[in-house]
């Protein structure tokens, strides 16, 4: 297990190194220390972009693990509670009515994601049976509602300007990441990730059946809601900066489970690292294209076949 963990750590280091030196502006190690322009590109653009890809992917990987554990479903992702749709509505609203400022789009997307989560939890609390299935059903309803709102906003959008901005946001990209992006992402990711690690024992309890967990003295409903809230905050903080990034939260935990079979903190950490590596490599690939394609194009190209292989392998086992 240790060897496999080291392999992931080495791969992560490699991805970070490649990310620091792949881009449209040619950088050399010598130039970073001697040329002021290269120094500025490295510190203001390349390093922040690498950090956002690493920590953003890490956060998505952790959140994916939490969702799959809570819902006892290997295909569960933050979309289950409609968080991506909520963020999309928030971003589209800002693009249309708040003047397209990057900061306002980020804040509005974050608010949209959080509001949708609260709406989902509120709707599920109205039911007598407040189990996992109720949350999923409420999530589906809220997701549909948010998609309708998004369609209405798209219809209102000017096709040549606002609609293009909305569509581009929906495809996800790290093109706009600069030094000023970091304060809106890193503190939330670091704080919430640390909290999730500290609460890992509670995540572990939710791998059990609800009755078993209750017999062990766990407050299942409260724990589930609390963990969902934290995982959603992680996802919201990332996608409000990058736009929608597909597959990472779904795939990262599966990759980690290939290396570590038992649920423990190492598996949790590896899920995050796998997410970080996937997003770093996908973002490096976007930088090699002439018009810098959206990052979701590459996360899907990398993710879809990998997921099929993993599912096939699981079936075989």
């Amino acid at each position: 297990m240790k060897a496999r963990s080291f392999l992931i750590a080495a791969l992560c280091l490699l991805a970070v190194t490649i990310s620091l030196f792949v881009g449209k502006y040619p950088l050399t190690l010598e130039g970073i220390f001697s040329d002021p322009v290269q120094q500025s590109v490295f510190l203001r653009l390349r390093l922040p972009r690498t950090l956002v890809a690493l920590f953003g992917g890490f956060a998505l990987g952790l959140a994916g693990y939490v969702f799959q554990t809570i819902f006892h479903n290997d295909l569960a992702s933050p979309d289950v509670v409609g968080v991506s749709s909520g963020a999309s509505v928030g971003a589209a609203f800002a693009i249309l009515f708040l003047g397209s400022s990057a900061l306002l789009i980020t804040c509005s997307a974050f608010l949209g994601a959080v509001l949708v989560l609260f709406l989902t939890l509120f709707l599920s609390s109205l039911q007598k049976n407040r189990g996992k299935a109720t949350i999923v059903l409420a999530g589906i309803a809220v997701h549909a509602l948010a998609q309708t709102a998004l369609t209405a906003l798209k219809l209102e959008a000017d096709p040549e300007r606002e609609l293009a901005s909305i569509e581009y946001w929906l495809m996800g990209s790290l093109n706009d990441v600069t030094l000023t992006t970091l304060p809106s992402l890193l503190p939330v990711v670091l704080l919430v990730s640390a909290l999730l690690f500290a609460l890992y024992r509670h995540v572990l309890v939710l791998t059990l059946d609800d009755t078993e967990a209750t017999l062990l003295g766990a407050r299942v409903k409260g724990t589930r809601w609390g963990l969902l809230l934290l995982a959603t905050l992680l996802v919201a903080s990332v996608i409000s900066v990058t736009g929608l990034v597909s597959f990472i939260s779904l795939l990262a935990a599966h990759v980690a489970k290939l290396l570590v079979r038992r649920h423990n903190r190492t598996l949790f950490l590896l899920s995050g690292l796998a997410g970080g590596i996937l997003l770093l490599f996908a973002d490096c690939l976007t930088r090699l294209t002439a018009a810098e394609l959206p990052v979701s194009v590459f996360t899907s190209i990398l993710g879809a076949p990998a997921l099929l292989v993993l599912l096939g392998r699981k079936q075989h086992e």
């Binding site: 881009g23 449209k24 502006y25 040619p26 002021p36 322009v37 500025s40 590109v41 203001r44 653009l45 390349r46 972009r49 003047g99 397209s100 219809l155 000017d158 096709p159 040549e160 300007r161 606002e162 609609l163 293009a164 901005s165 581009y168 990209s173 790290l174 093109n175 706009d176 600069t178 030094l179 930088r287 002439a290 018009a291 810098e292 959206p294």
Partner: protein
Amino acid sequence: MKHLKRTASFLLALTLTLPLFGCDAPKGTLTLTDQAGRTVTIEKDPEAIVSGYYISTSMLLALGEKNHLVGIESKAETRALYPAVGLDLSIGGYGTKKAFETEKAALLQPDLIILPYSLKQSADEISAVTGAPVLVVNPESDPLMQEALSLLAEATGTQEKAKELTNYVDEAISKVQTLESTPSVYLAGSDLLRTAGSKMYQSTLIQNARTVNVASSISDSSWANISYETLLSYQPDYLILSSACPLSVEEVLSDKNLAALSAVQTGNVRKMPSLYEAWDSPVPAAFLGSLWLASVCHAEYPVSAFEQTAEEFYRLFYGI
């Protein structure tokens, strides 16, 4: 009896013929191929036209068809050109690039409907419902814009006016083609990091100003999103903000991420003005965008020459 039969036959013939005298003489028809490749038969010299696209509306106005427009696209109140030429804004609201108000248009009983290329799939259905022929236009590049103008001119019988317009534009553009230097230009679209590649109309606008588009390696046919790094690697001589870009020149000059850009260091950042229309759109007046750019990038072509042409153009073709 025989006399009665003759009188009855005469009266019947008269009854059947009379309605014909109340109508205009038939104008004849015209068969055209629109820019979606559809064959369309229209009545010559249509008198009630609905234009569902601001670019075709601007073209029709330049061709002198203002009085034949009975319906135009939605958000007409946002177009400064329309009140300037005296177009009644209440005829707006018949569609966007995404959808067309078919039922509303049918009420106008138009002779001709013009639609953007994005609605080409609905063209036949709209024609069937409204009973009017539908022409699809696609002026998204310079040659396609010329083609769209010729198509509309042929449909409205205004070929002479179109020729006059084309000659005027060609002559104006030729004046800047003799300029010696060819500075490089980055054109920001609706966002600083959104630009036009070689297949976009805006790339032709840049070339016509005897300047070079730094993003010509991008082959997307729509606005392409790039990163700060890509922009820095381009190192354009001039950074031009289109009229749709929400940023001001001051904001770009103070953006620390662009401090290494020579255009920023030399202060060569400008915002494209828009007199009546956005000149980075493929409207007939788009050549003024090229002339303005030439006046910014070439000292030999003075701003006064551009201003004089702009004033003359709108006076000659729009009556402003």
